[in-house]
Subunit: 193 residues, 3 copies
């Protein structure tokens, strides 16, 4: 062996050791970043019970699901009306009964946020949607279910308004603000509607 | 050469090979994380057609654009009124004509969400803004354009309400929920206003 | 030394140099990604001054703070009413005085967004909350403070409506849209309520 020519080809193992350590460090940091990043997920709070806003929520929810996002819709307060199939008065306090009587009986009775005129506006909007072959709210709800959109009824609102499980459509989850936040904090997009 | 002292300096090439492979792996994971991360981007849905809410939308949009964010505003439903320059009744169905007649003719006629009193509230707000040298809505719209804020008119709402391109101001894009979501899923902040 | 068996164990130092360079490059990219990622942070715009919506905002804010997020609430427009402790008319213009007189005097006077009936709806909601042992709005505001939720009063709205610092509760920050955006752009979740 000729030390003069061989020497530059001989690598110092301590340099490799340094590299190995740096690589382990980078890998840890990368794993942390990966764990922190947003998932392919969209979280919507449906607070409003107005037909026009609820429609917007379902257009966004089904659109996002069709684009491969995991979508969860958290229905709270007036938004719970969307999930109602009937109204029961027994077991409710006076105020809860008054609220139930003044709230829409089901998704079919939602008012519009403007120009409702005792339901005329809402019927007009539904009829315009039909003319233009836009899916009705009920069709959008079905589509959302088919696409695997999670629908969560807010427990606190249900409890407050005394809405029983039997008054809501089947196949819902129940949850508090923590379940919304758990999804929302990992989401690419969160909206309050 | 004295093998006894030289040996520790000779690195094992298989260790380098392992490092090279790990590095390739890390690079792939990093590229994935980079591709998944949010861009410097803000996406707003302007659903409301109320002067006060629309002003808030433009304050946020122009503020974000001034801070170097790519901003897109997606105008849907009542929000389309912001983009109207005139109202045409020909070519509209009965319901569409009724809706057009009851909607604001242009951004100058937007009501406020509270205490509107047939437009008095909106005029009061505009006059208070003038007194305080706050830019008017129309000035904010111009500023947004200058700052490169993208304004997208929702196709489905336009179609539903029968609003023709000629009724809207120039320089708009048209798009569906997919174009909102395409921006929103890459955004740091998305708001539904 | 026997060159025939030793040779494969001798690593080429130029391969190490390549690795070192690639590693430096990866580290830079990773640092960039780390700096761009969202922090454990939630940012809320409280635009609405309706009791029901404001309650939703505080449920989300306190829930997020309890889950370890840094939370900031940016109160603007009607939302400023939540932070008012009294109303002063002196020093206000005519329109500002009219607005002050028609706005809620403090958080205790907020209307509900639907079925308010001159305050009856709001009182009904508060009483339903009491029956169900749900914290009142004022208790939620205190809890939010204890949990370190930052509350920021929008300067532009304050200026527009002529609301003086003495009219607002103590311990608030003041800021413009830039301070909201500074938080929001780093947040996991931003909502406009």
């Amino acid at each position: 062996m000729d030390a003069g020519t061989e020497a530059p080809l001989v690598a110092d193992p301590s340099r490799i050791q340094v590299l190995e350590e740096k690589l382990r460090d980078l890998e840890e940091r990368l794993a942390h970043v990966e764990g922190q990043g947003a998932e392919d997920r969209v979280a919507l709070v449906v607070f409003s019970g107005d037909l026009d806003r609820v429609l917007a929520a379902f257009v966004i929810a089904t659109g996002a699901a069709a684009m491969g996002q995991e979508v969860s819709m958290f229905f709270t307060f007036w938004g719970l009306s969307v999930l109602k199939k009937e109204t029961r008065l027994s077991g409710k306090t006076l105020f809860q009964r008054m609220m139930a009587l003044m709230s829409p009986r089901s998704s079919k009775n939602l008012p519009v946020s403007r120009m409702n005129y005792f339901g005329v506006g809402a019927r007009m909007l539904r009829s315009m949607m039909k003319q233009k072959n836009v899916s009705s709210l009920e069709e959008m709800i079905s589509l959302a279910r088919e696409l695997g959109v999670r629908m969560i009824a807010c427990e606190m609102s249900r409890d407050l308004m005394g809405i029983e499980e039997a008054e809501l459509v089947a196949g819902l989850e129940c949850g508090g603000v923590a379940s919304f936040l758990a999804d929302s904090l990992k989401s690419r997009t969160s909206l309050f509607i």
